[in-house]
Symmetry: C2
Subunit: 337 residues, 2 copies
Amino acid sequence: MTTLSEVAHLAGVTSATVSNVLRKRGKVGEQTRLRVLAAVEQLGYRPHLTARALAEGCAPTLALMVSSIANPFYPEFALAAERAARENGRFLIVCNTNDDPDTGRAYLDQIAGTLSDGVLVMNANLPIDDLKKTEQRGAPVVLCMWEKPDEPPELSCIAVNFFEAGAIAGRHLIDLGHRHIGALVGSKANGIHAERYRGYLAACTEAGQKHVKGRTRYVEDAVDAGYEGAKALLEAHPKLTAIFATNDLPALGALNAAADLGLTVPQDISIIGITDIQWARLSRPALTTVAVPTNSAAEMAVALLLERINHPSQTTTMRMTATPELVERASTGPAKT
Amino acid sequence: MTTLSEVAHLAGVTSATVSNVLRKRGKVGEQTRLRVLAAVEQLGYRPHLTARALAEGCAPTLALMVSSIANPFYPEFALAAERAARENGRFLIVCNTNDDPDTGRAYLDQIAGTLSDGVLVMNANLPIDDLKKTEQRGAPVVLCMWEKPDEPPELSCIAVNFFEAGAIAGRHLIDLGHRHIGALVGSKANGIHAERYRGYLAACTEAGQKHVKGRTRYVEDAVDAGYEGAKALLEAHPKLTAIFATNDLPALGALNAAADLGLTVPQDISIIGITDIQWARLSRPALTTVAVPTNSAAEMAVALLLERINHPSQTTTMRMTATPELVERASTGPAKT
DNA sequence: GTGAAAGCGCTAACAG
DNA sequence: CTGTTAGCGCTTTCAC
């Protein structure tokens, strides 16, 4: 480990000067600058990020809280967030809360403000009070996917119009002539799924068609759960010609359920999801879904977080992503007549 | 931000004592201990990880280098690695190299030894020389998936018997009576895929059956590439009754290609992959594959890395994971006669 | 048992 | 332009 002062020694200057040339701060004579640079090169000096962070009073990382990075939606978000962070000189620490508030709190207590300058919160089942507490301790928090643009939370956030996403999905099905639609709704405590379901319901109402409560199944946000839910739905309601799922994972499960039940998609049954994860276009048939702007949400979240870090006085703000858009693939088609 | 000395002040002691009670080091009177603890509680004190790291001369994070966390295989590994790291008091920084050696080198130069105490390297296209250099600078490196147990690299590693994985896949196909087998081989520079292919080839030879070179396609490690490769293969060789892929992603692509070509799996064509990623059991038909012990590899890698960090003198070592195992699902069956 | 003091490697005034 | 100095928050040796 070569240190600043070793470089300084070699270059015949003091560490402050070396720091200056490296940070391009202050005035340094061209001669010394070159000498210092040569010494840096010769010794293979690399700044000690931890020491620098301590001296600058600002940590070099951002934390990303997710329930599990293994959930297929998060890696895509994490990739974009990491890239954005990196472009701003920050590294990304991934924290898997496993949906356990205690685990999440432990992370926050340990790293927020001491190792990470700010926290990106993806759906990770963290009590808002804990988040507000970490904000108060000086580590800004940004909620990456807020679902109720009409009700800004008490924290900065990137809002996605999930209500509209649900409505778009609903309208798509209705436009295709579907009158008997089943719904697979995420059962998580957070409102993300509820909002999408509300949007779908609104689309039905708007079309003068009411969704029958019995045709809704609340399921975990996972392929298996979607599979079971769809199977139950399809067996209980043979007349269903379409299934609306609040998320791609259950929708993908529904695709499998239909296949196992001997139903052809989309001839016998249409299936639509929301999000447009990687696998949506890779399933057979490819899944029709309403795409959420994941990448830009990640970039916006990182940008907002950095603003809050750099301007602590900045007031809590909410920003909207672009509206989700229908991605029509092969899993939806005209209703059987 | 409450600091040690603020706590010390409140408790009427010095910061050294507070540090002692918190670290459970040295001797501290029961009275003072309680007083200190009360002060910590009252002020909501949390140790500043960056400062601690600097003082201890040991960084609180481990770095995980992957080409892209969005590649479906990595999140599962990352989850297990993060858990293992966390159990040992370390946080995990995810570094996406995008398969670009320059990006990778930039990461290594910046964080190895300064922000991260050690580096886990998953397939990320990093020149071994760069890795050796970072080792020399004092940051241990562990290769997480080494493919040639017979040829230990010059770095510590967790070795997986990929040759055997390929052989298992080959034997499975042959046992099912397949005589006309196509191969989809990953084309990455690294030897991971080559080793699997060699294993497969060995299984063929062993069975007195030789694989026809023309029935091999080299493809990127992705669903799309596997799709195209399989399609080409199937169109060029109508007599094929099975496809061996060196990885699950191309195998999953082959599944789609077969479907689009109107072939039924496994009646018309059997398909097998290697790895057993999450999606393998979720595809329809579910993919038969040879499971690589991902979780234990991650745990072993973290354990080995920590050993090397704690005992810098320890010699470069290689450890084997358990042997990959066949997971028979629905994508393989008896050869058509 | 507890405190004083030095130092981890770097940055940031402020002098000169 | 360059050096001196004083920390950042914590750990740790060594006196008392």
